[in-house]
């Protein structure tokens, strides 16, 4: 797969964001806020950073693999997979509808290419990713394991079990990114459950290698994720703190947690789509 540079990624993300909005509007449910915020990350990962094969096989031997822990941002995951060639783009219109492979939260149960674990019940993805990274080491497969988690779900204790395990066992073929948008369902993460210290400080004290990036800037993502790749194999798992804006770049969806799990009505959809050019064609 060709590695798209930042300007072309930006074209792509405009289309992915249109997909996200049209998908959640189409079923009148789903999670647009985090999906919009993470579109740049997904596009960079699947169209530049990862070596991966859209002719999907579950074990993923000989390729980089990705796990989504915060499964509620499934719209952006599904759009990216479809746009990468894992399954037909037309299938995006079935999102959250009866008999779809595009369940509300990702699942392997419907055999959708590109999905390797069910997620949605929060806090489980980093453990799974660490296990898959161990499997790669056992298989002497030098490809990497990537994972994305939300900053709200870090309140789940299992994450901290996984953080300890991965550092103690030098799982250094694992790159975890946290979507630091500062919002969760009931409000800001600071108000709901403050961490007491910067997340980077906490993870560094656990023994992880820390990087920072601007999650709504394709060049920052490419530069940082390439740096992360270069830091693998040096005895530490990698933790990338990615600052994003929930709802980005739709003006009325940014700045609060309001659009975490609400679908736009017809007028709101029209308003949002007017801010996002159709670049490679709507599904």
């Amino acid at each position: 797969m060709n590695k798209l540079p930042a300007p072309e990624l930006n074209n792509l993300t405009s289309q992915i964001r249109r997909d996200v909005l049209r998908m959640v509007h189409g079923c009148k449910s789903g999670h647009p806020g985090g999906s919009l915020g993470c579109a740049d990350f997904f596009a960079a990962l699947y169209f530049n950073i990862m070596e991966h094969n859209p002719a999907f096989n579950m074990n993923g031997e000989g390729e980089d693999i990705f796990f989504l822990s915060n499964g509620h941002i499934s719209p952006v995951f599904y759009s990216t997979l479809a746009r990468s060639g894992y399954f037909p783009v037309e299938e995006l219109k079935t999102f959250r509808k009866l008999n779809t492979r595009l369940q509300g939260h990702p699942t392997t149960h419907e055999h959708l290419p590109g999905i390797r674990i069910a997620s949605g019940s929060l806090g489980q993805g980093i453990s799974v990713a660490a296990g898959a990274a161990l499997a790669k080491k056992l298989n002497k497969d030098t490809h990497l394991v990537y994972a994305l988690m939300g900053d709200g779900e870090i309140e789940e204790g299992q994450n901290w079990e996984a953080f300890m395990f991965a550092a103690h066992n030098k799982v250094d073929n694992l790159i975890v990114t946290i979507d630091l948008n500062g919002q969760q369902i009931d409000g800001s993460t600071q108000n709901i459950m403050g961490l007491g210290a910067d997340i980077a400080v906490k993870l560094a004290s656990f023994g992880w290698q820390i990087l920072h990036m601007e999650g709504n800037n394709s060049q920052s993502i490419l530069d940082t994720m390439n740096e992360a790749k270069a830091l693998t194999g040096k005895g530490k798992p990698i933790f990338v703190v990615m600052k994003t804006e929930m709802g980005y770049p739709v003006d009325f969806m940014m700045g609060s947690h309001k659009w975490h799990g609400v679908s736009p009505n017809d007028a709101e959809l029209e308003n949002a789509l007017a801010q996002l050019p159709e670049t490679i064609g709507d599904y």
Partner: protein, 317 residues
């Protein structure tokens, strides 16, 4: 009543340890994870002989279940080991989402099940695990009766692709099944043919059922005794065929009445052939501290309790 020779008296968890070591030799894709109970689970031999395929995860069972799910992605066959309580209730949602719903080939191996864990008391004595695990869609649930059968089951489940819950225990119990048996998932084992009552037992209660069979024989009652080592999938034909002959049933298990083997048999019989049944099981209660023998007596899980249940159910025919 058929006589069974006790080869020795051994704990079923050691059967698991022996089976795991055997797999270390014979199946290079098997890996093992343990949550700080390597000695208790008898996993130390595997750990020593195959250190590159063993993962000490610390006291972090939720993470262990996720790691195991991840290890399957890459073609490994993970066996997780901890107490039954921490293998099920503590990590139910991790098993549900990351293993069962995701269809991952993880073998959840659970020791110290039931009240025979003994002195540690109710915090560690799970009596709900069979019910929890049998409700999980797609989960195979196995509760072998002695050392040899636990070893055979441990080896057999490596060849089955899909999630399995394997339950065993702490105390030394009579080891009487064939050392070279081939374990077949879902296949009930007829131990004694009889005509007056069907006794369906699982786990540690299988030997108690045999003891009860001898007592009943002295009373002129000819009991059919069947070892249901697989709770799910249940061997429905074996149960229905036996019941067609005996027309009454006693179930016996070291588990809550709600959700256990007896509960599964009741569902089957209510649908296919309504039949009087008595259940030897713990009745909606937690356990407590004590020796395994004292606890089995206090909670009514002895051969004498099976005999009483047989007399009650025959009277209801």
């Amino acid at each position: 009543m058929k006589k069974f020779e006790i080869q020795n008296v051994k704990d079923t968890r050691s059967g698991f340890g022996a089976g795991l070591s055997e797999l270390g030799k014979t199946n290079p894709r098997v890996v093992a994870l343990c949550a700080d109970l390597t000695g208790s689970l008898k996993m130390d031999a595997f750990q020593k002989d195959y250190p590159e395929r063993f993962f000490q995860v610390g006291i972090a069972e939720a993470n262990m279940m996720g790691l195991a799910a991840g290890l399957t992605i890459g073609g490994w066959i993970p066996y997780t080991g901890t107490f039954a309580n921490f293998s099920t209730g503590r990590v139910y949602d991790q098993i549900r989402q990351s293993i069962a719903y995701s269809g991952k080939n993880v073998k959840i191996c659970a020791s110290h099940a039931g009240i025979t864990l003994g002195e540690d008391g109710a915090t560690h004595q799970i009596l709900e695990d069979l019910g929890l695990m049998k409700m999980m869609p797609g989960m195979v649930v196995i509760n072998p009766c002695d050392y040899n059968q636990t070893k055979a089951a441990t080896i057999a489940i490596a060849d089955y692709v899909g999630p399995v819950y394997l339950r065993f225990g702490r105390p030394a119990v009579p080891n009487f099944t064939d050392a070279n048996q081939k374990f077949e998932i879902g296949k009930a084992l007829l131990l004694n043919e009889g005509t007056d009552v069907s006794i369906f037992a699982t786990g540690h209660l299988v030997w108690k059922a045999i003891e009860a069979g001898h007592i009943l024989a002295e009373k002129g009652i000819n009991a059919e005794i069947i070892n249901i080592h697989t709770i799910k999938p249940l061997d429905e034909n074996a149960i229905l065929n036996s019941v067609a002959k005996t027309r009454c049933v006693v179930s016996a298990e070291e588990h809550q009445m709600n959700g256990g083997l007896g509960d599964s048999i009741c569902q089957l019989l209510a649908r296919k052939n309504p039949t009087p049944i008595e259940m030897v099981a713990v009745n909606d209660s937690f356990g407590e501290s004590g020796t395994p023998d004292d606890l089995m007596k206090k909670y009514g899980l002895e051969a004498a309790n099976i005999v009483d249940a047989v007399l009650r159910v025959i009277a209801r025919k």
